[in-house]
Amino acid sequence: MTGGPNDESREQFLAEAQELIETLSHDLLLLDQAERQGDANAEVLNDLFRGVHTLKGLSGMFGFTAVARLAHALEDQLERLRMGRAPLTGEALDLLFHGVERFSQLLATTGDASGLDAIPEGFVERIHALAQADAHGRDVLHDYAFDPESLAALSAHEEHRLRAHLVKGDTVYRLVVALAVVRIDSALVELKQILAPIAELIAVLPGIRPEEHGAIELEALIATRTPETELRSALATFGGNLFTVRKRSGASLLPPAPIVHVPHASPVSAHSVLPESAALAVRVPTNLVRVEIRKLDELMDLVGELGAVRTSLAGLSEQLRASAVDPELIAQAQRLERSFGRQLATMQNAVLEVRRVPLSQVFDKLAVVVRNLAREQNKDVQLVVSGARTEVDKLVAEDVADPLVHLIRNAVDHGIESRQERADKGKASLGTVHIHAFTKGSNVVIEVRDDGRGIDPAAIRKAAVESGVVSEARTRGLSRFEIFDLLFVPGFSTSPQVSDVSGRGVGLDVVRTNVRRIGGTVQVESETGLSTTFVLTLPITLAVLSALVFSVRGHRLVVPLALVQEVVRIDRRAIQAIDGRELLDLRGAILPLSRLVDLLCLRGEPPAVDVQHVIVLSVANRRLGLLVDRIHGQQEVVVKPLGESLRGVRCITGATELGDQRLAFVLDAAALAEEVLSVGATRAHAGGTP
């Protein structure tokens, strides 16, 4: 694909549009919350309107007419909601959510111009239909003793705000106050500040009395549900007279008092006093820079190269020491090399930090998923998030989104019970899905916990046996953890009986594979009947790894240091064999062993010694011992991915340069553990070199 200027501006548009949509989703959630509490939030509606309007303009500019048309339809709907011409119902909200989702979908079909233009006509029609069905209710303003001239002076928006408050049952007051002309601006700011925490200042209108002694009378319309006494005391220092706007009594309809309008030098209109909230916001410059992740990858590569240079320098330094060179020069060289090393480590950390983003980016999207799912299934579910500020590498954040959505779906679909069932069990009717993220060493842990029906080990055992994943006999020897782990085995979820248990297992094998691909692990724990918790453990960064370097038959390999429990030297004769497997009795605990030379089909002569090195790995709560030839030490390495051509090579993810142009491979410990240990695995390498 040629990257011309058109592609670049398209990329830019897509990036900006993405950001806008994220903000829109966030605002919609706020609105949703407000609607449930019966409290329509004017500001949020305005923000939504502005956002959609900007999106409309942007997409029109770049020629994405379908997106622009959808934006236009949503803009119309938002305008109606803003002006109170349409009620903010659950259905109206659904339409908005649906619309924003549609944006995402339309934008996701990149590279396919026809996709971006495929406009959901039916959707737009629904919006129009909703517009027609607006309740032509009685105008509540008629029920109150407002002065018609005052009402006429209000903008449509202000009228709507008045109605909204009256419908809610708030009280509207008129604050009549005379202000010196020179004081007006600062006085109004002061008034807004006083009122902000307790009331909404709807409008400020010219009063009925003429100007005298350089003062102007103004009438402020205030709406609030704060008790009158509190309002009065707040306004005490400000001055003026406060009147309540009362409901008209049915019998007497007093004619409105005549208003005498005195032309002012500078007419005080509602518009010049209050900023027009319908004004479109100019893009606010921020202190942020948008960077292509490719550029960060290149930076990381350069840091890696420097790392290799540094290792070579260290080697050279060692060699110099052995040769007959002025010791002072040697010392200098070593100091320089160490200083270089320190600066390099700092730079590496800096680059890593630049690549990190807070997990909130991902979690925000999940809230929408929960809301939609809950509505779909008519369940009450809330999403609680903690630790959203935890940061991970951008790529990790991107790749963890899908598995998380999957787990959340799983939790709402199969975990959280229906309202009735929860009531019967004595649980709160509102189900909770709790996402909790925190750092643990060089990892980030994300827990997804629901307070639903939990998982029953007996049911899993039964389902696993019935779907042929494991034999009845085998299940008896499994620990509780291993039974839960069966949910992740491919084949478990394809059980013909679609019960809630196997429903729980649907697609979990895919989740595990995807999490594995970003170097993480996933496990599940549960209290039957009470809760289920999925625990994802992810590396904070994929770019740099603290690794243990070792070799087997001259082939260099590395394994993440975080997974290494210990390294032991054993006598060859200590290895025992049973049922085709090898194991070691390590301080009273059985450690299954794996000969890497067999597993990786490596050739070469074994070292002629009786002592063998065993690297004890701890992977997903299980231990595995790797039999290797030599241990070379610990090192920070920059991991480079292998090409597509080598994707089929199992147990190896990526390569790293150790300093002399030779590459070492990164062992995929989790895949290895699964190949050797898992219940459903076939034992292909039962000892002996092929």
């Binding site: 089909c601 480079k640 292998l642 051509s645 002399d660 030779r662």
Partner: protein, 175 residues
């Protein structure tokens, strides 16, 4: 030269000037082959090769080229030629294939030829069982004589040599 399996993102040099083909000629097992210059990203000396455990047969290993870990393919195996250790003149052709750049190990890199359409005979001249990765046979003037002379289809002692034109996608696409 027709390439019905042109992948969309390969720069279509052929589409621009079908009349003239620009080819990079190289030597493998004393036979001259060529690839369209447009698909060759670069040529480098052979760096140290690291074997990849459990890799497909045709993969010699990986090499580090321009900061990237690049898979090195044994062209001899793809062309079904006997194995031989690399020569001093050995080079790696960096060829784009799909989403990555692969390295093809050759015995020597020769030169660039510009061939007119009528200087290329279609592969079918060899019969219907010609290998599918062969797209044609070119006729070139005075190629550099490799050690051992040109095998097979050349006339002795003449200044005209033959060039076997390869299609990289077909060559690399099949396992």
């Amino acid at each position: 030269m027709s390439n019905p399996q042109h992948s969309v993102d390969r720069p279509a040099a052929n589409a621009q000037t079908p009349a003239v083909h620009e080819l990079l000629a190289f030597d493998v097992a004393s036979t001259h082959y060529a690839l369209p210059i447009a698909c060759v990203r670069g040529v480098v000396r052979l760096p140290p090769v690291t074997e990849v455990p459990r890799s497909p047969e045709r993969v010699l290993g990986v090499i580090k080229v321009r900061g990237q870990v690049t898979t090195l393919i044994d062209l001899r195996r793809l062309l079904r030629l006997p194995h031989a250790p690399p020569l001093a003149t050995a080079r790696v052709l960096l060829v784009e294939h799909g989403s990555e750049v692969l390295g093809l190990l050759v015995d020597a890199v020769l030169r660039i030829h510009r061939l007119k359409h009528d200087e290329i005979e279609p592969a079918s001249v060899l019969g219907s069982d010609a290998p599918i990765y062969l797209t044609g046979i070119g006729r070139v003037q005075a190629p550099m004589p490799p050690p051992g002379g040109i095998r097979g289809t050349a006339s002795r002692g003449s200044a005209i040599g033959l060039l076997l034109l390869l299609d990289p996608d077909r060559l690399l696409g099949t396992q």
